[in-house]
Amino acid sequence: MNKSGLLVRLAVVIGFASIAIGLLSTQLFYRLTVNKEIGFAHQSIDSLYKTVEATAATAAYLAEKDLAQEVIDGLITNDIVLNASMSFEETVVRTHEQPLNNPIAFPIKSLFEPNKTIGQLLIEPNVEFIELRASQLATENSNAMVLQALVVTIVSIFVAFFLITRPIIAIAKALHHTRPGEGKRLMVPEFHDGSELGLLVRDVNELLDKTESQFNQERKLREEIEALEKRFRMLFENSLSPIILMEPGGNILLFNSAFEKVLNKLDLQLRKSFGPLLKDLFDDPDSLSRVVEVAFANEEIATGEFKLKTEDGNQHFWVQVVVTAIISEDMREYYQVTLHDISKRKRELDDLAYQADFDKLTKMLNRQGLEKQLTTLMTTQSRFMLVLLDLNWFKQVNDIYGHKAGDEILIFVADRIKKTLRPEDFGGRWGGDEFVLLLSQADQSETREIVTRLVNRISKPFYLRNFEQNVTIGASVGAASYPDDSLDLQTLLHLADKAMYQSKKLKETQPEHFLHFSEETQQVQVNHV
């Protein structure tokens, strides 16, 4: 049982109060009773006197000792009288020899002359007896009172318990287990329909009603907000592009799962910050910060395509970055950074570029690719030898065995070229059965060495599987040197072409002269002139 519970407190308070009141009133009552009893005793003695007055007066008047003795004896038989004596005309009548202590004196009037006193009657009350009787009476009364207090206490505890405490405890318990929103209501205790407790319960229920309706309203609102938030979150979380909200200093406040995936791809652990504008993620963060700086200076949204820094460096991971500056309601600046993965598009673009520059059949640079390479070499002003190679007897093979056989021959030649060239050299198919080699930093002797090796390889008989036939082709080669022969691409090509035709002329007669240099051609022309 709860020590500070209502019932215990009530019982203790009523108990103590009744004990205190009982003790106090018992004391008071005791004293009152004793005083009253003593008063009664005096009255009784008065009455006693009244009954014997006539006889006593007669005895005194006639000076009749016997009669007086009888009166005194009669008086003494009374419990409340301890001693008595009567005196008249120098005669004293008494029972005991003891002197009287604090006696009550009654003057004896003459029977026939009322204003004449003829004697005196002394009565000593039995104080001990009176007090004993009084205290007995008082004790009895006190006991009755204690009993009454006990009964009243028990009754009041019971009444308080059944009428007040129990219903209150029931209400308190019910209220304790009531949660607004569950729809539970308190019961009005029995017999309390019209009492304050009934009113209390009704008021509490009303309050519960109000709270519940407020609760429901709030819950509805919260649900709406939650639904909205869920949608926003869905939008945010399911976005394929990483979205990051960060402080200008680089602290990341919010990010979605797509960002985590990107970090996974980059083999990076999630961190609180990757530097301002996520600079740690980018291959060239300075260009990004420049772009952002310029855009923000013009109050624009910063966008740009940037490469992310990958672990092995070769993997290409490109993103389009969109950085938006957001000023919040409390005037703080945030950056919203969105990364769109554009690697695939980038790769496709690269592939497209690759396809444009390469020959599908031989997997070598085509004319466009070669021209690009030539331009590059020329812009970097590096020395190289332009070698033009034209196959001999290819047209015949093509005519006799068909295109498939011709393609086989072309793939074979391309393969030989790839195997012969040094790593720094380039080779490609110029068109038809014409090939171009760009020999970096090569002089004539080096060129001759490479070309000779190549032509020897090409000139070996080639086995056509489908036809079970060996065919032999050859090559006529012309070379022009950059920048010695010309600085102009077209001129250089023209010179190489002319040199190649020089060789072509000798393919039957002097097949060992399969290589001519432009310089020689010019000399021949000079010689001709």
Partner: protein, 145 residues
Amino acid sequence: MVGCTLLKSLLLVSSLGAVSTPDASNLVVVVNKNNPTAELSRTQLIDLYMGKYVAFPDGRKAQPLDIDNNHKLKEVFYKELVGMPLNRVNAYWSRVKFTGRVRPPVQEQDEQAVLQVVATSNSAIAYIQADNITDDVKVVYRFNE
């Protein structure tokens, strides 16, 4: 004729006596004219009639007399003397009689009888109406004073 007149006068006297209402003013206490007591106080009279003393103040024996058949006179006398109705006086006597020592006054028929006793006895003392005083008695107490 004389007898007739006497009778008449007797009738007249008796009727007068019967009719006259006794009251304190004409009530007197008398003794034999030869009694040396000249006068009695009220207390002395009470003590004689209520039995306290049986002698006159000079020590000679005294015998109080009561009139029995005229209650009215007796009643007035005791009322005047001790302030008590007759029943209380009777109660007093019945209370004190047992002592043996005290005796109530001697009862006589009427005033005439009383006067006769007083006339013949020196110790007798009685109350009568003042109208009936004779030469044989002398007044020792008057209530009208």
